[in-house]
Amino acid sequence: MEPLRVIATLETGQVATFDGNLPLDGIIAAAWMRRYHPDAFWTGAPNRMGEDWIEPILPLDRRVSDGEWYWASSFARYRQLSEEITYWHKRFDDDMEHFLDLGGRSGRMNVKSGPFKSYRMPLVYMVTPELVWHIVGDRGEVASLLGMIPAVGKKRSAGYGFVASWVVEPWPVDLSCHDERGRPMRAIPTRDGPSECGVRPPYWHPVNRVRCEMPAPWGGTGEWERQG
């Protein structure tokens, strides 16, 4: 294990994210699951931790804070050129009604509410040439797993967050959890922390959410500025 810097150069520069965190251990965990437990990955995580819960064994250093463990992996840092909004749409395919069987009931579908509701959903994305992370881990293993990741962020299925290349390089200092001035570079479990956040993959899962100290949302200086 050694301190590493990871850079993802983006194809278009578009990344859809609602909080801008983009934790790299979550991305590496997805690759690890796809490599070693693809069936479990594609069928989805179970509701609760039990016999069928798979905890990824990542090539990263493990840290502990206030009784909770987490991987030595920072949230993303980037120079944001702009924040944009676009929309995606979903509608009931009434033009395919010749395949529809209403069972003799009313021929009207309610597309204003209920299960067949039509959507025009806003999607916020940022524009940035590259994403940068700091981790402590096994360089070869991390590079191998990241090679399985062609896109990051939300709405990858619609073309956002496509990655052109990954660079994994040694870095002289460990900045995976705190920067040179001691400020958090990721969510650090803290019993009386101000926020509740996931601390390890899968970050979205309720079982991984604890009170945390968080990095400044748009703060930092120098190389670590999230906003240019």
């Binding site: 578009q14 299960p115 040439p129 896109a151 619609a158 990954w166």
Partner: protein, 352 residues
């Protein structure tokens, strides 16, 4: 140490990286926003060749995916003898379903759906409160132009490429109110105006002035329902570039994607206003896996043309053979997993 996203997972699944070039055979309309009676082409912000933010016209990956989902489902249902589906399975297949909160995460259900319907596995779906992720990332279609030089592969880069703004053309259309055309009004029911409801509704009485019905059946003084409007479009002859990732796909899932190309090639349109002849295209896609040193042709598709090649042809043949077998089992009542997935027997999704 660098890594390009081409490493394959160590399992029986394969990951495919596709690149496509789509040629516009007629102007392409893809609405972003409306200003007055003009609809503007959709545009997105990206990092330009100089590293700064730049706006560029784009056809959404979500729209392309929607086209392909519908086409893939049509191919599937025709192969199964065109069954009619209850609304929920219908919406699951054509629209990806809905989060309803009726069920807890049902991993067995997701596994059965993936096995029974490779197409659904490829596109993903929501059933109950469980999201089954899809296996392909549908790239945005970008003009091959000055703004997109940074995202294009080396073989398409051209420092002399013109700006995409030079591709934009404005098409003007007129909508005429035939109810005001004296040569046609003789075909109208006396006293009728506006649009008649289908299904035997009574004609709406004509109104004169401030809502006063006309008693002579003559035209009232309401304004004519006609307009002239403008549609921004990308000019015919332009080319778009697209990347697609197909992650951890079985051969049947990859074949399901090929079936979408097959069905789409029967009406190869993108964008809107297809009824006016806009959006006719032809395209060629290549593919590469982690085992290949360089890309190989995958498929050519356009008006009257569908030519799957290499792994694309093999996967489509395998998928169609699977569907033929599924159909035979389905009509003989030996395909409960498919009946359940389609809700035809009142299964998990059916409202019946």
């Amino acid at each position: 140490m660098t890594a390009t996203p081409t490493t394959r997972p160590s399992s029986s699944y394969k990951t495919y990286y596709l690149e496509g070039i789509v040629t516009l055979l007629s102007p392409l309309s893809h609405i972003g926003e409306n200003l007055g009676t003009t609809t503007h082409f959709s545009r997105q912000a990206i990092v330009g060749p100089d590293g700064k933010r730049v706006e560029c016209f784009a056809h959404s990956g979500n729209g392309f995916r929607g086209h392909f989902r519908d086409d893939g489902v049509k191919h599937l249902l025709r192969a199964l003898g065109s069954p009619n589906l209850p609304p929920k399975p219908f919406h699951l297949l054509f629209g990806g379903g809905t989060m309803t909160g009726e069920f807890v995460v049902d991993i067995d259900l997701a596994r059965r759906l993936r096995e029974a319907l490779p197409l659904l596995s490829l596109f993903g779906a929501a059933t109950g409160n469980h999201i089954m992720p899809g296996k392909w990332n549908t790239g945005i279609l970008w003009p091959i132009c000055a703004e997109t030089q940074r995202l294009l592969p080396a073989y398409l880069r051209n420092p002399e490429a013109p700006s995409c703004r030079t591709w934009i053309t404005e098409l003007n259309f007129s909508r005429k109110d035939d109810g005001k055309d004296e040569r046609l009004t003789r075909h109208m029911l006396p006293g009728a105006t506006g649009q008649l409801a289908l299904g035997g509704a009574e004609p709406t009485p004509k109104k004169r002035g401030k809502g006063k019905p006309s008693d002579d059946g003559e035209a009232g003084d309401e304004p004519a329902q006609q307009m002239r409007y403008t549609v921004q479009a990308l000019a015919a002859g332009g080319e778009l570039f697209q990347r697609i990732h197909v992650l951890d796909a079985t051969e049947l899932e990859f074949g399901a994607l090929m079936s979408c190309f097959s069905e789409w090639s029967q009406a190869p349109y993108l964008g809107g206003n297809n009824a006016k002849g806009l959006g006719l295209v032809a395209g060629e896609w290549t593919y590469q896996t982690g085992e290949m040193d360089e890309p190989a042709p995958l498929v050519s598709a356009g008006p009257g043309e569908f030519a799957p090649k290499n792994a694309g042809k093999e996967a489509l043949d395998r998928y169609d053979a699977y569907l033929l077998d599924a159909y035979e089992r389905y009509i003989s009542g030996n395909a409960p997993e498919i009946r359940q997935a389609l809700g035809v027997s009142g299964g998990v999704h059916g409202t019946a």
